[in-house]
């Protein structure tokens, strides 16, 4: 295999609907490829052909992407050590789900908190109930409490729960099934050891998120290779990603899968949709559905993308081939849902299991227009004629922006107000620089309008899912699902915004702005960690 092909994969045949990159972008990619080639010349490619092929595939991943992977993993590991046990959002429920799977080999049977005695003892010894959402209370602080904790957890306590997993019970099982591996590895150790090992698996997911975002930016914005690093490293250092990926939470896997599907679509838009890629997109969708229900928000955008790409493919590769590929991809994507549905129906359970129950028990109210108005106001300025659902508050700023800047623990750890005000300045600068790049490349954008519509629909789907879920408990409870973590499936787009912002400063100053963005996010990460330290240990 030639070095060139190991650095940049050629479009596979049939390259249906492949859109040729512009000359500038191709030149930039060739330059990046040559640099990679020069750096990797020392590597050996000898060995058995299968292994060589596999190694070749790995080597096609640029060094920068691999470093972003490592940085994201290390940062998430750091957050996993920093955050006290069970103080990640809903972490006690997620742990209970895994324990139920591992100890009873059954899915949770109720959304009550039927934790095992072992978990209850750990939560009590750690003062979990006094600390959660009570930022004035800190973690245990005396050696005597530590010794009691160690003593009580080392005694043989029942790990069998009553089948409850709280809020996590209605979630699909894949992430939890994977977590039974580290749980099993630490089965001889205490509950805290098992939790720590499980957090490490989540941290690995952060690495994949950063890796796929690098690859996504490389495909979507191929013109300026150095900007790929700015975008992906910016995401790898983002404290929001590291905090969630440093705890036991299926969101960590959801972020990685969302990034993967953005990458697959970007690749298909730029190199053409092959059957292999169609199946890959279908497989990522299937895994996403099995990981967290919020993935459904991305589905309309993904399906639209697949339809458009298939139509393009039909022109070059033939209708039969293209549509058979689409059918195959959609079948792969839909199979897990169909099987789940069928099992429930045949066993006389609600068609979507505990999900159906939670939807039925939620308050159904209001008109469709009322719901649309609510979702709109949850993320955007209220329009004339809309009912005021958030009086005296602008959710885009005071909920979403502020919480993206910093909200940790059980949503109970925030910066002082002035930090959020100051954060508006760099955020505005990034937005202006990004807009400048988009304006300068409006001709290119016009030719890629459909691709952008697909990404926008994916992002909108994520917002609609969050808004619609919040509307279920409105007006009894305003602001449900108002945690910034629900928006992080759009991290790939955030990475692209960072890359575009760096490019917006021009060829001369762009890299300097890129460095500034990365350092700013690194500082944000550092100060967020100190905030968490002061919250729990100060």
């Amino acid at each position: 295999m030639s070095r060139r092909s190991t650095t940049r994969a050629p479009a596979k045949k049939p390259t249906v609907g492949a859109r040729s990159l512009n000359r500038k972008a191709q030149a930039a990619q060739r330059l990046a490829a040559r640099r990679e080639q020069a750096r990797g010349r020392a590597r050996s490619t000898v060995g058995n052909p299968r292994r060589t092929r596999r190694l070749g595939a790995l080597r096609r991943i640029p060094t920068a992407a691999r470093v972003c992977f490592v940085v994201a993993c290390l940062n998430a590991v750091l957050w996993s050590l920093l955050t006290p046990p069970f103080q990640g959002p809903d972490e006690s429920d997620h742990f209970a789900y895994v324990q139920q799977l591992a100890e009873n080999t059954r899915l949770p049977t109720s959304s009550q908190q039927g934790y095992s005695l072992e978990e209850i003892v750990a939560l009590e010894e750690l003062h979990y109930f006094q600390i959660r959402q009570e930022p004035q209370n800190h973690t245990i602080f005396s050696q005597a409490e530590q010794q009691k904790l160690q003593h009580d957890l080392s005694t043989h306590i029942s790990r069998q729960g009553k089948g409850g997993a709280g809020l996590a019970a209605s979630e699909p099982p894949l992430y939890y099934a994977l977590q039974t591996i580290p749980y099993g590895v630490g089965s001889g150790a205490t509950i805290l050891d098992r939790l720590a090992l499980m957090r490490l698996l989540s941290a690995l997911m952060a690495g994949f998120t950063a890796l796929f975002i690098f690859l996504f930016i490389r495909e979507a914005l191929p013109g300026v290779p150095w900007a790929w690093t700015v975008g992906a490293l910016g995401v790898a250092l983002a404290p929001g990603l590291s905090f969630i990926s440093g705890s036991v939470n299926p969101d960590s896997m959801l972020y990685a899968l969302s990034a993967a599907v953005f990458y697959c679509l970007a690749r298909a838009f730029h190199r053409g949709l092959t059957r292999r890629l169609t199946i890959a997109i279908g497989a990522v969708m299937a895994i996403g559905f099995l990981t967290k229900l919020n993935f459904i928000g991305l589905a309309p955008g993904i399906v639209l993308g697949m339809l458009i790409l298939t139509r393009r493919a039909a022109r070059t590769a033939g209708r039969g081939y293209a549509y058979r590929s689409l059918a195959l991809g959609l079948a792969v994507a839909g199979t897990p849902l169909a099987v789940y549905f069928l099992i429930n129906v045949l066993s006389n359970h609600p068609s979507l299991g505990l999900v159906s129950e939670s939807v039925h028990t939620s308050t159904r109210h209001g008109s469709l227009w009322g719901e649309i108005g609510f979702i709109w106001q949850y993320f955007l300025p209220r329009l004339p004629g809309m009912h005021t659902d958030f009086p005296g508050i602008f959710p885009l700023h005071q909920v979403w922006f502020d919480r993206l800047v910093g909200q940790y623990g059980w949503a109970d750890t925030q910066f002082p107000n002035w930090v959020y005000e100051i954060a508006l300045i760099p955020a505005a600068a990034i937005a202006i620089l990004c807009a400048r790049t988009l304006l300068a490349s409006r001709m290119a954008l016009r030719s890629r309008a459909i691709e952008l519509v697909v990404y926008a629909l994916m992002g909108t789907g994520v917002l609609v899912i969050v808004g619609a879920s919040a509307y279920l408990s409105f007006p009894l409870l305003a602001g449900a699902y108002s945690e910034s973590r629900y928006l992080l499936p759009m991290l790939a787009l955030w990475g692209a915004v960072l890359a575009l912002a760096a490019r917006g400063a021009g060829r001369r100053w762009g890299p300097v702005v890129g460095v500034s963005i990365v350092v700013l996010i690194f500082a944000h990460d550092l100060f967020s960690q100190l905030l968490v330290v002061s919250r729990y240990y100060g």
Partner: protein, 214 residues
């Protein structure tokens, strides 16, 4: 060269900001009203102040922490009255979660008895939309907090904070000891591991951007 200079400048600024932050003292508890956090009840009277009499406002108070609960907290305005005179006041922007800690100008001398009043949202806000709860204990109506002229089910817990006299630097060893407790792997060494991880993240990121952005 320009990249390295930008990186060095950025990291130097971060280090300076860090040093300034750590030289500050964290707020400490100056006092509480002794009301236990046992139960909660919603604030029902839209637009009206909640007032609680017979409070003691410690000298040097720089923030008043109200034990409230809300998913998206509305704006909170607090006033402390000694008789009819306002001796401390402050406002917290909307969007808070958990407790509402409202900063006030340092109180020069202790005030007793003081009436603490707080109001949710700007004028005209329908607070019921925010489903904000007060936490404290149930009491007889005569000593309970008052909301819109009516007695609430009890008294709210209120905490008074003031600037501490020890900087984060001088508290470093205590904080490090606390960080070593209550985890899977206990001991202060865990802090060193965290520092090593942070260092590795910083070094790798710096190396990568100087390599790729040159």
């Amino acid at each position: 060269m320009r990249i390295k200079a930008a990186l060095a400048a950025g990291l130097a600024l971060t280090a300076i900001a860090l040093a300034i932050l750590l030289s500050h003292s964290p707020p400490t508890l100056a006092g509480t009203n002794g009301v236990p956090n046992e139960t909660g009840w919603p604030i029902t009277h839209a637009g009206a102040s909640v007032c609680q009499a017979n409070e003691v406002l410690p000298r040097g108070t720089t923030a008043i922490r109200l034990l409230l609960g809300s998913l998206v907290g509305p704006q909170v305005s607090v006033q402390a009255f000694s008789g009819t005179q306002v001796i401390a006041h402050g406002t917290l922007s909307p969007g808070w979660v958990g407790n509402a800690t409202v900063s006030v100008a340092p109180v020069p001398r202790s005030g007793t008895p003081v009436k603490i009043c707080f109001k949710l949202g700007p004028p005209g806000t329908n607070v019921e939309s925010f489903r904000t709860e007060i936490f404290g204990e149930h009491t007889r109506p005569a000593i309970a907090a008052v909301n819109g002229g009516e007695a609430t089910p009890g008294r709210a817990r209120i905490e008074y904070l003031r600037a501490g006299n020890k900087s984060w630097w001088s508290l470093a060893s205590t904080v490090a000891r606390h960080m070593g407790l209550g985890h899977a792997w206990s001991g202060t060494w865990i802090v060193l591991l965290m520092l090593a991880l942070m260092g590795a993240v910083g070094v790798l990121s710096s190396w990568l951007i100087t390599r790729e952005l040159q």
